[in-house]
Structure formats: C-alpha cells, structure tokens
Symmetry: C2
C-alpha cells in the first residue's frame, strides 16, 4: 500500500493500517518519518497518561480497568506498553493475558507494545513518535505503561501529561518507587491491592516520602519555573483494588482533575510550547547525527578514537578534524 493511503486509512480508523504505520515509525523508516510529518498538524490534543510501577504492582490490570472506565464514558483509548513484562506486551502469565481479553476485542481500545530496543534513547524517541501517531489519528486518551525503573523509563514517564505511580503493599519492595526517583515526577499516587492489611503502611510511607520531597505540585512546578501560580497541584493518593474494579472511577476522576488543573494553570499550553522547542532541537540533533553517520565511516571514527586513546591526539582536535573532513567547514 503506498504511504499516503496508509496514513489516510489509519486516519479513517483502519486499525491494521494504524498498526503498520506504527511499525514504520517505531523502526525509524523514511516512510515512518514522512508519515510523522504528515500527521504532525493533527497532534497535541490527546491526554497522555503515564502509568508506572514495579512488576507485581498490578498496574497492567489497573490500566485495563482505567481503559474500560474511559470506554464507558465513551472515549477511545490507546494503550502503549513499554514494559516488556506487561501482559499487553505478551510477556506475562496466560491468566493475566486472559483478563485483558475483553479489552483487546473492544474496537474502541487500541493496544500496542513497544519492542525492546537496544538504545534507551531510541526507545524513548520511538515511544514519543508512536504516541504522536496515536494522538494524530484521534485517540483522546493514551495510556503509557512503563516499568518504573531506570532512567530511560523515567524519561518516558516524564513525557506524559499525567504521571500515575502505582504501588502495591507488602511486596517487600516498598522502596521501589523511591529508589527510582519516581516520587518526584508522580502527579497521582495509587496504592493498588488496597484491601491488603499492609496497605496502610504503604500509604504512610508514601505520605512521608511526599513530605520529605518538599512542596507538592512538583510536576507542574517543573514545567512552570519561577512564575508558577500559588495554587500548586498536590498529588492525591488513590486506593484501588484493580481486580475487583474498586477505586478505578476515583482514579479516572483524579486523572481528569489533573488535566483540568493543567489547563487552568496554563501548564497544558506551556507544555505544548516546550514540546515544540524540544522536538525541533531533538530533530536538529537527529539530522546532524544522521548526517555524521552518513559521512563518517566506522573505520574513520575508529581511527580517530584509537589516536585519542594512544594520546597522539586530543579528543577536541580529533573531533574537529573529522567534522572538517565531512562537513567541509
């Protein structure tokens, strides 16, 4: 299928066309980049919600419930699973995958998992690009599932409008979120499996961590800088039992409340501006690196590195020399 047709088909709601388009984008093909460019004017409308937590926190089940709740409110929902152990990625036990079954058969829900990629930076970029496509074809809600450990995953979570941190009590890893530096970027804290006796303990730990990490509303404040308005967002702690569908409506309400806060405070708009700048700068670097890779051969680079390693040349001069050769500057 020629490319304009694929974009048109995806825009018309053809899910197979969309899936193929996403593969192009994920693999960074030229057709994918052309599609991204064509779709770009339609982006900037979706509410991107990052849901992050350790394996075993039940976040996949919770994401499924959130998607169902949003469907009941007549919204299309896209789910992007970055976590390779997610049932959405096919990485979990059969039982977990079966629980997702009714979601997968609902045409109003589109599920996509990210293939694991070599470069952490590559994964973040590919995820952002794929979210852009889903945004452009008209999903008002995009739920992004990340495992919540490691800088790459934190970076991905950070690209969301609303970051939901999912914890479960009594897993012996109550410090997971703290460890990964996730408290700082969380807009909503969820204690899932809240019917467990240890839940209150987990809530207390989260409350203490909130107090330790200073004034609330960090995520918004980060985007706002020194001119942040007085009314900051205070991340609520929502208790859920995803398996029994308890607390899910409250979580969705918290997500919608956070969006209203972002819009009323001007952060939503400001984020779009910042994103435009970040995207231009990212592409400047991408094009430049592509240009360099195209023009500097592996042998040429290896030779320069070897000379630097042997201390025959300093790195700045070696780099400048490479650039002079390939860019004729």
């Amino acid at each position: 299928m020629p490319e304009p047709d694929l974009v048109a088909a995806a825009l018309a709601g053809d899910r197979r066309a969309l899936a193929r388009l996403l593969s192009w984008v994920e693999n960074g093909t030229e057709a994918g980049q052309a599609a991204l460019a064509a779709l770009y004017p339609r982006t900037g409308r979706a509410h991107i919600v990052g849901l992050t937590g350790s394996p075993g926190s039940g976040k996949s089940t919770l994401i499924g419930r959130v998607a169902q709740e949003l469907r009941q409110r007549d919204n299309l929902v896209a789910i992007v699973a970055v976590d390779p152990s997610s049932p959405f990625s096919g990485g979990a036990l059969l039982g977990d995958r079966l629980r997702m079954q009714d979601l997968v058969t609902d045409p109003g829900v589109f599920v996509r998992s990210m293939a694991s990629r070599g470069q952490p930076g590559g994964l973040a970029r590919a995820t952002r690009d794929m979210i852009g496509v889903l945004d452009a074809v008209g999903f008002p809600f995009i739920l992004v599932e990340t495992v919540g450990a490691g800088q790459a995953e934190v970076d991905i979570a950070r690209t969301a409008h609303t970051v939901v941190l999912v914890e479960a009590p009594g897993m012996g890893d109550d410090v997971q979120a703290l460890k990964a530096g996730l408290m700082e970027i969380a807009d909503i804290l969820v204690v899932n499996k809240a019917d467990r006796p240890e839940a209150q303990q987990t809530i207390r730990i989260l409350q203490t961590a909130q107090q330790l990490s200073g004034p609330a509303g960090h995520h918004g404040a980060q985007a706002a800088g020194p001119t942040a308005p007085a009314a900051a967002w205070s991340p609520p702690i929502v208790q859920t039992v995803a398996l029994e569908d308890r607390g899910v409506a409250e979580l969705v309400e918290a997500i919608l409340a956070h969006r209203r806060y972002l819009e009323a405070s001007g952060y939503w708009q400001r984020r779009l501006e910042q994103q435009a700048r970040a995207e231009v700068e990212t592409w400047l670097q991408r094009h430049l690196l592509a240009l360099l890779r195209e023009r500097i051969g592996d042998a040429q680079l290896d030779e320069a590195v070897a000379a630097v390693y042997r201390r025959e040349q300093d790195p700045a001069s070696a780099a400048r020399q490479l650039l002079e050769i390939v860019l004729q500057i």
Copy 2:
C-alpha cells in the same frame, strides 16, 4: 601570562597557575580548550574516586580524612567539590570549614570547588574537563565530592573509576541513596558515624538493597558487557567514624583494592578506550552545537519553534530546513 606559560607553570607545580587554568577550562574559554588539548597526552593516569552522599552524611569530613590518609602514604591529592553545600565549596558552617584547615594549608592537597552552573550537562562536562587538567598535571588521586541526588550528579559520579557511597545512620533519610538510584553505581558502601546505635540498622538496609539489586559487581560488569569475567567485584560495606579518623585506612584500602580489581580484570584499560570514544563523540556534538549556535540566530530558532507550535510545520522538516540554511547541505 600567555597561555603556554600558564600550562607550563601548572605542570611545574605552580598552584596559582593551576587554579587560573582550571577557571579557563571551567568557563569553556578558547584558552581553556587549547590548554585541554595541550594537556591531553598527559591524562589517563589518575585514579578518580567519586564520593557521594546526602548532606549530613559527613562525607566532606570523610573526604578530608581520606585525603590525609593518602598524603601519609606520600600521594598528592586533588579534591573537586561539586556539592555547593560542601565546606570545600565554602558552603558549610564555619566549624566544618575549620576542620578542613590543615588540609588546605598542605601544599600536597589541591582543593577546588565547582561553581554552580546553569546547565546540568554543562556541570558534568566542566567537571570532566577539570578532572582532566588535574590528572594531566600529575595528581595520582582525584577525589570528587557530589551530593548524590539528581541525574546530573549521578552522571558525574559515574565518570569516576571508583564510586564511594556514604550513608549515615539515623538521619531519617536512610532511603536517600536508594531513592537516587545510587546503589547501582556504588563500588564501595560506607556507613559513616558508625558509632551511632542506629548504624546496624543502616547496614542491614544496605545489605538488603544489595541483595535486591541483584548480582554484585555492577559497576565493573557495566563496563565489561557480556564477556565479563567470572570474578566480579562485590561492593564492601566499610564502617567509618570520620570525625575520629576511624575506619579511614580501611576505606583507603578498599579504594586501592578496587583499583587493583579494575586493572587485573582489564576494566581499567577498557574504560580508557571507552572514554576516548565518548570524548570524541562528545566533542563532535559540542563542535556541531557550537557551529549551530553560531549560525542559527535565536530569532531564527524561535520562528521555527513557533511554526511547529502552531502546527504549520512538523518538527523534522523545521529542523531540516534550519540545517539546510546554516550548513548549506
């Protein structure tokens, strides 16, 4: 003083010349870059030890003690304080600074604090460059003090051969190190103020965290990849009471043991190779960004960003267009 003289004077042991040279390098002046290039052949010999921990862990006092211990063993020592709250940076209480007094008057110890810089990436780069100068002028040990929170500081710690994580018991922030993702990069764990009753609790927490974070020797394994030898480094937990100079000799022994491990396993050499590659790549990007900044005016960039924000142009095309204009490609 003309620049070659300054480099020569610094190499001859003139501390004032060295201090001035470091300022040039820190500020990224052309003279500084020329000096870096001139000094580069002499780099690659120093053992760079990163010491990181929260304010209040006593890590500055400990660094002072480690420096004294190394001096007693007849080594020159350089201390680079990245932490603005460090007494080495002049940021602490007078009492702390007074304790550092005998260090500062020892001509065999050179202390330098990093000015706080706007860009986190800029700080890491400036720190690396300054370490390069100290290495070149012949300090066999360079102790780098970082506050141990935030990605930038973690990145700086990561550039060290040996990362020492300093914890203190009973500060109500036993999770600080876990929170910042520092356990993963620590080669040596120190429980300072080990005479406090809560010290055993802190040791147990660190041991548990070590078990949770999987097989030992992460720092070495990271550098080694899939061909890592079987004998991995297992980060020891060293107990110190820096104020009373207890455990400091043991810590220095652990640092020296880690160096022997790095050399015997080939990681030391491999790290130098990787560093040469990383430096060439960093300078390729630095030169390119400088070139772009030189050729793309703020107004031109703002205009491109505004067009992207208004969805009149996609970011990839906007970036390509800017590049075509400024690089004539």
